[in-house]
Symmetry: C2
Subunit: 191 residues, 2 copies
């Protein structure tokens, strides 16, 4: 018998913790939400110290994600991957910035509490986003926790830029680092 169904969920607390009625107009606002999600996730013990959110052209939330690797027993369930899959499921757009007739919808933005790892980096190439906003750097993740970012192209920013994806780094970096530090001090799992 083949196992044929993938089912992944966000933790129940997201429905109370996230204000979907408001806009998140600035880059810093968007990354600050991702960082708040990362903090909630470790406080609720519902996954690793990573959060992400996809925003539409109106600066409102399309979907959010948090790391669910351990609770879901799924190495794919990183925050950015959850956010992409949920945003695509909600909109039924396999490229978030293209509609069914291939018309442009945008800009679509992903905000993430930490630099995407090798898996989330590759997913970012296909997800259909125009802007990638990042809090903590890879070296913050690797120095403050036992997580590893994995192998990336040498010029990973340039390769995204060539595909029309703008990258902005170091947004609310100190706040993002504080959550990573808190997690690292807990001796959290590596996943």
């Amino acid at each position: 018998m083949l196992y044929a169904q993938v089912h992944l969920t966000l933790p129940a607390w997201v429905h109370d913790a996230v204000d979907t009625s408001r806009a998140y107009p600035t880059d810093a606002d968007k990354v600050a939400l991702a960082i708040v999600l990362s903090k909630h996730n470790i406080e609720a013990n519902t996954g690793g110290p990573f959060g992400a959110a996809v925003f539409g052209p109106d600066d409102r939330i399309i979907a959010i994600g948090v790391n669910r690797v351990v609770p879901m027993a799924c190495s794919v369930a990183h925050a950015e991957m959850m956010a992409y899959m949920l945003a695509q499921g909600r909109t039924q757009r396999l490229r978030l910035n293209r509609d069914a007739e291939d018309n442009v919808i945008g800009p679509i933005t992903l905000a993430t509490s930490s630099q995407p790892c090798c898996q989330c980096y590759g997913a970012t190439v296909w997800a259909g986003i125009d802007r990638l906003l990042i809090g903590a750097r890879a070296e913050d993740v690797e120095s403050l926790t036992e997580f590893d970012e994995g192998p990336l192209p040498a010029d990973w920013v340039g390769a995204l830029n060539e595909r029309g994806i703008e990258v902005v780094r170091d947004l609310e970096r100190d706040a993002a680092r504080a959550v990573l530090r808190a997690y690292g001090e807990l001796g959290g799992q590596r996943y």
Copy 2:
């Protein structure tokens, strides 16, 4: 309201098309199954021309995957990603080659009809496999279809080797190329 559930499925034909009662002892046997899956997928019009399968130390199937990007409206739903998520869901092991007490289980093998793209490459780093078996090369995919493999580390094989993952290429390459060519001649979608 937040969208909080990801649900991805394999096509119904997999239950009839895959013989789970037998072993797939050689590397060529394993990749041949992945290629048969890729062919079924385009003939049934249930996704792109890519198939994959995860095998346990007994050379039997743990899970299979086919490309489901268009039917699921999900850019994450590549064949290798589906196979990893389904294998992890079935075994409840977030690293396929480690049990809950971190004991080694292996070798675990992924066989894929074509070289993993940038997303599936990154996922391979975290999925917990020991061996990666590949049919068609990236240049076959890019010359025979309109698919794009995305940015990879310059020494992508070496980076996997450093993490203990053996890579074997060009297994049943002609058969894999034949399916890609058939798909390319259909003028299939790029996804």
